[in-house]
């Protein structure tokens, strides 16, 4: 794939709507565009989360009605999968790999450092709403760990110093005017 094509994809993925900014019509649109696919529920939930940033609780009855399933069934699927959020995340989603290959390269120490630096535990968001921290069990970057993911970018061989630089960049970059 050539550079230009890759760059296009990146900018296309950038704009994320403000958290909490959703309407029942948005949900209906996403369900309607996918409901005739075989086994449409996961694609629908992905589409909603990609559009709104999370799957609002208010979406459950709408999805249930349109798919002719019970609310319990829809809720059960959302709660089963770690990937789906029912509340908005902070401005940045940070995932730290907790799996064995990263552990072998200092992943546990990095986990502690990350939590100390951000002042939050897993499944929490910093008070300034900049970073939501989640654990992840393997990013497939196992020969160059420890690895983290910041939004759509995976970063390898992360040291505490490298992490601090990254966080500083992340929290200051929002002030830049483009």
């Amino acid at each position: 794939m050539h550079m230009s094509e890759r760059a296009d994809h990146k900018t296309a993925a950038m704009p994320v709507p403000a958290a909490g900014d959703w309407s029942p019509d948005m949900i209906r649109q996403e369900v309607a565009s996918l409901q005739h696919e075989p086994g449409p529920l996961l694609p629908i939930l992905h589409a909603i989360q990609a559009r709104i940033g999370y799957v609002p609780e208010g979406a459950v009855p709408i999805i249930a009605e349109m798919l002719q399933q019970t609310r319990a069934e829809i809720h059960g699927v959302i709660s089963f999968y770690h990937h789906f959020r029912t509340r908005p995340a902070g401005s940045n989603l940070l995932e730290v790999c907790r799996a064995e290959a990263c552990q072998a390269r200092g992943g546990r120490a990095l986990e502690r450092h990350v939590q100390k630096k951000l002042g939050v535990g897993y499944h929490e968001t910093t008070t300034d709403n900049e970073v939501s921290l989640e654990p992840v069990y393997c990013l497939g970057n196992c020969a160059c760990g420890p690895s983290i993911r910041v939004n759509d970018e995976i970063i390898g061989r992360v040291t505490p110093q490298k992490f601090d630089e990254l966080v500083d960049k992340l929290t200051t970059s929002v002030l830049q005017l483009k």
Binding site: M1, H2, M3, R6, H9, P38, G39, P40, L41, L42, P43, L45, H46, E73, G76, V77, F80, Y81, H82, H83, F84, A99, E100, A101, C102, Q103, A104, R105, R108, A109, R112, H113, Q115, K116, V136, Y137, C138, L139, G140, N141, C142, A143, C144, G145, S147, R149, D152, E153, I154, I155, G156, R157, P160
Partner: protein
């Protein structure tokens, strides 16, 4: 004259700054008024050398690596565009690198060489030859070739692929059948599926299409874990182009049969790598494991006959159909035929992808390829086959990598991941993590897994705290037995393997109090 430069675009290269390296190269070329063609190739799987920059020269593709973005200027000044050897990062013709020369790359013959989504590149390097051969055969003829290859499921269960395909083929024809690719590569230490999807996606498309022709399926799904966004992007693009070129669609290779492919994203559930849980997830349900029988080959996706194979199994198929099952079966040993893509990871100096015939010893992999630990300290333990497999002490490293030989040790090869730990590892903590991981990822359907894993963490904590140690050790042994014998699937059934291996080979670590982790 245009100079062709290659900078990989797989996840590992990107995670180490490959995009910035590529940008710096373009800036440097513009400054010097050099006409360059920048190709974003896949990775060759020599990960300690990433980002690996290659330059096309009359003497082959000359490489430099690992290149940090800040080093590009100095490399260009030292003659990178001319393939000049006067730099410490100069590696010479990369195809001659001993790490590659010592491998037997049948499945991964193209990775790092081609532009992953360039279909012309794929065809120029032998792509679609297997599909063309298959399109000229009867379905039974294809299945016979797969049987002759001795190919066994590379996802971990090692079930003969040909027998699975035969079962689906033998189901009545007048019904919908499916091919499902398990690309939920959740085992830590594994990245071979990812490399197939990111670096040679047409190979997977070709393998699945052949499977479709073989069993009479017209629709295939690739279930990709949600962590692998780049894999999904590459596959979507490759599927689109394969349709345009007539390799997918209503008339595959002009032989009148239809086959279509769709990529579906998982949602961060390790258990969905278990095939029946994966099928439930594809159907839009919670990923609860199904009881078997019925086998998915008979009642699989939406209750229809379904081939479920791992990425690596399907990726081996184009080679088999292009060169013959017998050629593939000439590699390997005993009942483990063909090649095994070993993924060397963790605390290792030279980590990466190593495709070799079955039968190589772990020691050879660690020493000849890995060149020892990354930290330079002695290696203490190696976990082969993912989080549900045993930790092997040095006394077991001379075992040949063969399904049966590993099974005899109470270990397994799984999906071929090899995770290396140096002597600073606390094996008691590793045993505890095995149970903790199972508690997080259990689907919750059966009790031994759902409750057993939680109790496992508690019992290990008590042992490590010195609380009633002897009785708790007995309890842990019994708990492990219950989980192995009583669980519905491999998640609960194999979580005890790493724990038991620690109890057997590293008991002193299990008894020791937990060490504080420095932050």
């Amino acid at each position: 004259m245009t100079i062709t430069i290659y900078v990989p675009c797989d996840t590992t290269a990107l995670s180490l700054g490959a995009d910035r390296v590529a940008q710096e190269l373009q800036v440097a070329a513009a400054e010097l008024n050099k006409d360059i063609r920048l190709v974003r190739n896949g990775s060759r799987g020599l990960f300690w050398l990433e980002p690996l920059v290659e330059v096309q020269t009359p003497y082959g593709r000359v490489a430099y690596g690992p290149v940090e973005p800040g080093q590009v200027k100095e490399l260009v000044a030292a003659g990178l565009f001319e393939g000049n050897p006067d730099h410490a990062l100069y590696l010479g013709d990369i195809a001659q690198h001993p790490y590659l020369q010592r491998q037997q790359r049948l499945t991964f013959a193209r990775i790092g060489i081609t532009d992953p989504v360039c279909i012309e590149d794929y065809i120029a390097h032998g792509g679609f030859a297997g599909l063309k051969n298959a399109a000229a055969l009867t379905p039974q003829g294809i299945v016979d070739e797969i049987k002759a290859s001795g190919l066994r499921g590379r996802g971990g269960a090692a079930f003969p692929a040909g027998i699975k395909w035969q079962t689906v083929l033998d189901e009545p024809h007048d019904q919908q059948k499916y091919v499902v690719c398990n690309a939920d590569e959740g085992d830590s230490g594994t990245f071979a599926d990812r490399l197939v999807m990111e670096c040679d996606p047409y190979m997977l498309i070709e393998g699945m299409t052949i499977a479709g022709l073989a069993v009479g399926a017209t629709l295939g799904f690739i279930y990709v874990r949600s962590e692998y966004l780049l894999s999904r992007k590459m596959l979507d693009e490759a599927i689109r182009r394969a349709e345009e070129h007539g390799y997918l669609g209503d008339n595959v290779c002009g032989n009148g049969r239809a086959f279509r492919l769709e990529v579906r994203l998982g949602a961060g559930a390790y258990i969905c790598g278990e095939e029946t849980s994966l099928l439930e997830s594809l159907e839009g349900k919670r990923g609860l494991v199904r009881s078997k029988p019925p086998l998915p080959a008979i009642k699989g996706l939406f209750g229809q006959p379904t081939v479920v194979n791992n990425v690596l199994s399907l990726a081996a198929v184009p080679y088999i159909m292009a060169h013959g099952g017998k050629t593939y079966a000439d590699y390997g040993m005993g009942r483990s035929l063909g090649t095994l893509p070993i993924q060397l990871a963790g605390n290792i100096k030279q980590g990466g992808l190593i495709e070799l015939a079955f039968g190589v010893t772990l020691r050879k992999v660690l020493e000849d390829f890995g060149d020892g630990s990354f930290t330079g300290r002695p290696i203490k333990a190696v976990q082969v086959g993912g989080p549900l497999m045993a930790y092997l002490p040095e006394s077991q490293w001379d075992t040949p990598m063969d399904y049966e030989a590993f099974a005899k040790l109470g270990a397994g090869i799984g999906h071929g991941g090899v995770v290396v730990f140096d002597d600073t590892v606390d094996m008691g903590e590793q045993a505890r993590f095995a149970m903790e991981f199972c508690a997080v990822e259990s689907c919750g359907k059966c009790t031994p897994c759902r409750i057993g894993s939680v109790r496992g963490v508690e019992v290990i904590d008590r042992i490590r705290a010195g609380d009633n140690r002897d009785n708790n050790l007995v309890l842990l042994e019994e708990l492990c037995e219950t989980m192995v014998d009583g669980s519905l699937c491999a998640m609960g059934g194999m979580t005890p393997f790493p724990v038991q291996s620690v109890m057997k080979h590293f008991p002193e670590d299990l008894m020791a109090s937990p060490r504080p982790v420095e932050a």
